[in-house]
């Protein structure tokens, strides 16, 4: 009797294992053999925040381009919260998405999510922000923030001169872009000992926070000559704070991103300069790479830096709509 029970159990286990293996191999085949025109394949666009027009452009361009390539594309807003981002990844992995176009919330904190997707056979293409790993994402398409801010730093010295005081508003401290921008800027400006930074504070890439932070800094430092902001949302907030304080025509504001509202203010002579990133180029490149991956290509450069161009009053007419006209 015991022998019979053992035999039945063995047969049942073998059957279960065989069916499991079959379904695994079926799912692997599905991933690699999805038709290139997308069919009903789904692509996820996971964005750090949609509370900033620049990221809205990045997200919508990625989604629209994926749709043009024949995929069903959905945007997930991480609201600058790594926990929300992790929960999006859980949903995406269990919902059969074929690729993720990803703008991470944190260079270190987001690595685990990318690895989970990789283990599930879903390729991840980072856009604009990098993760601190070269073996997790399939490819990373990133703004060359450092070089962009070297150019911006050189222009800053030309405009402000080699003596004066300034404030720096940093972005999210966990994001590499924050430090690549800051370091590129300081690699130039710190060479001029007459230029003194009187305050350096994070405003999280956020317009409202930048307004609040600069208002507070201006109380202790009312006579600054310039403000360097790690993105254009903060530049807009800083400019608003200066308008409220009646100092907008005395203090030179520099941003970074190439957001439309800042480009317009540069044309009006209210903001001095920004670095034009190309969110549409990055989003399109990421979507095209995902399409190629789904079609079977496997060779991608791990990192593709995208040039950042200086926008000032002399060349502002060449720029608009988040890129060159």
């Amino acid at each position: 009797m015991k022998k019979l029970i053992k035999w039945i159990a063995a047969v049942a286990m073998t059957a279960a294992l065989t069916s499991g293996l079959t379904s695994c191999s079926k799912s692997d085949t599905d991933t690699s053999s999805t038709s290139g025109d997308g069919g009903d394949a789904k692509v996820a666009v996971v964005i750090s925040t949609l509370n900033n027009p620049w990221f809205v452009v990045l997200a919508e361009t990625a989604r629209d381009h994926a749709q043009e390539l024949g995929y069903e594309a959905t945007i997930f807003d991480s609201q600058n919260d790594p926990a929300t981002e992790a929960s999006h990844y859980e949903n995406i992995i269990s919902s059969g998405y074929k690729a993720i176009l990803f703008n991470p919330t944190d260079a270190d904190g987001s690595i685990a999510n990318v690895r989970k997707a990789k283990e599930a056979g879903i390729p991840v293409f980072c856009m604009d922000r990098e993760i601190n790993a070269t073996d997790a994402a399939t490819s990373q398409i990133l703004s060359d923030n450092y070089s962009g801010c070297v150019a911006l730093g050189q222009y800053f010295v030309k405009q402000v001169g080699d003596t004066g005081t300034y404030v720096e508003l940093l972005g999210l401290v966990g994001d590499n872009n924050t430090w690549n921008r800051s370091k590129g800027f300081h690699s130039v400006v710190d060479r001029y000992p007459g230029l003194k930074m009187v305050a350096q504070q994070s405003a999280d890439f956020d317009r409202a926070k930048a307004l609040e932070v600069l208002e507070s800094i201006l109380q202790a430092n009312p006579d600054i000559d310039a403000v360097f902001c790690g993105n254009d949302a903060m530049a807009m907030g800083a400019y608003q704070a200066l308008v409220s304080a009646g100092k907008a025509d005395k203090v030179k504001v520099f941003g970074f991103d190439g957001a439309d509202d800042v480009v317009k203010l540069i044309a009006e002579g209210k903001i001095v300069a920004t670095g034009m990133q190309f969110p549409k180029v990055m989003a399109q490149t990421a979507a095209e790479s995902a399409d190629k991956y789904i079609k079977g290509e496997r060779e991608f450069p791990q990192k593709t830096p995208v040039a950042v161009e200086l926008v000032n009053r002399d060349n502002v007419e060449d720029f608009g709509d988040y890129g060159r006209k």
């Binding site: 070269t134 060359d144 070089s147 590499n176 430090w179 690699s187 190309f278 490149t285």
Partner: protein, 215 residues
């Protein structure tokens, strides 16, 4: 009663043996380690990328000894005048989707002018090269050498730190001899990096020197 006593004992023994086994396992494979804060800081500093030491080795072993293949400055100017796209592709390196190309160049000529912060060299075969001897910015040498790949650096801050360190080295080890020996008419040989944006007009080539000799 007499039969339950040995069972209890043996159970107790088994339980003790099991606990001992778990203790040994936890000792060999601890679930967590407690590291003093000071030690943790030391470990993280040791793991941090050291751009100065990386560049020292790169400069001594790669750039100045044999070095990357350099294109002749006159040949590069000619190639640019014929077809700048082709010249960039044949001789240059582009970093990702970049609007500039970087080159590693060599050449010789004579100094035609020395101004505050800039010297100009007239090449033997014609054409001019300038060297700005003030603060050095940009990635002309890092990218022009073609030897460093951004994809090999998990954190791009480390890759960018290389440019700062290379530029600092140029200022400290190459510029002093230029300031000391550069006079109009002096013969000069050079090797270095050049970065040309797609909208630049050349000549002159603006050189960031790795080597400069006054034979």
């Amino acid at each position: 009663m007499s039969t339950s006593e040995p069972t209890l004992k043996s159970r107790l023994l088994r339980w003790c043996g099991g606990m001992a086994g778990v203790c040994v396992l936890l000792y060999l494979l601890p679930l967590f380690n407690i590291v003093p804060l000071k030690e943790a800081r030391k470990q993280s500093a040791a793991a941090a990328f050291n751009a100065a030491s990386y560049v020292k080795t790169f400069w001594n072993d790669k750039l100045t000894k044999g070095g990357p293949k350099a294109v002749d400055a006159g040949e590069l100017i000619d190639a640019f005048n014929k077809d700048r796209g082709d010249a960039a592709e044949r001789y240059g390196h582009r970093l990702g989707l970049s609007s500039s190309a970087s080159f590693f160049v060599s050449g010789s000529g004579s100094i035609s002018s020395v101004d505050k912060g800039t010297i100009e060299i007239t090449l033997k075969e014609g054409g001019t090269v300038t060297i700005d001897t003030g603060p050095v910015f940009g990635n002309a040498i890092r990218d022009g050498s073609g030897l460093l790949d951004v994809s090999k650096f998990p954190n791009s801050q480390d890759f960018n730190a290389l440019s700062s360190e290379i530029n600092r080295r140029v200022e400290e080890s190459v510029f002093p001899s230029i300031r000391e020996k550069a006079t109009v008419g002096a013969s000069v040989r050079f090797v270095g990096g050049v970065e040309i944006t797609d909208s630049d007009t050349i000549p002159p080539l603006n050189l960031v020197p790795v080597v400069i000799d006054f034979p």
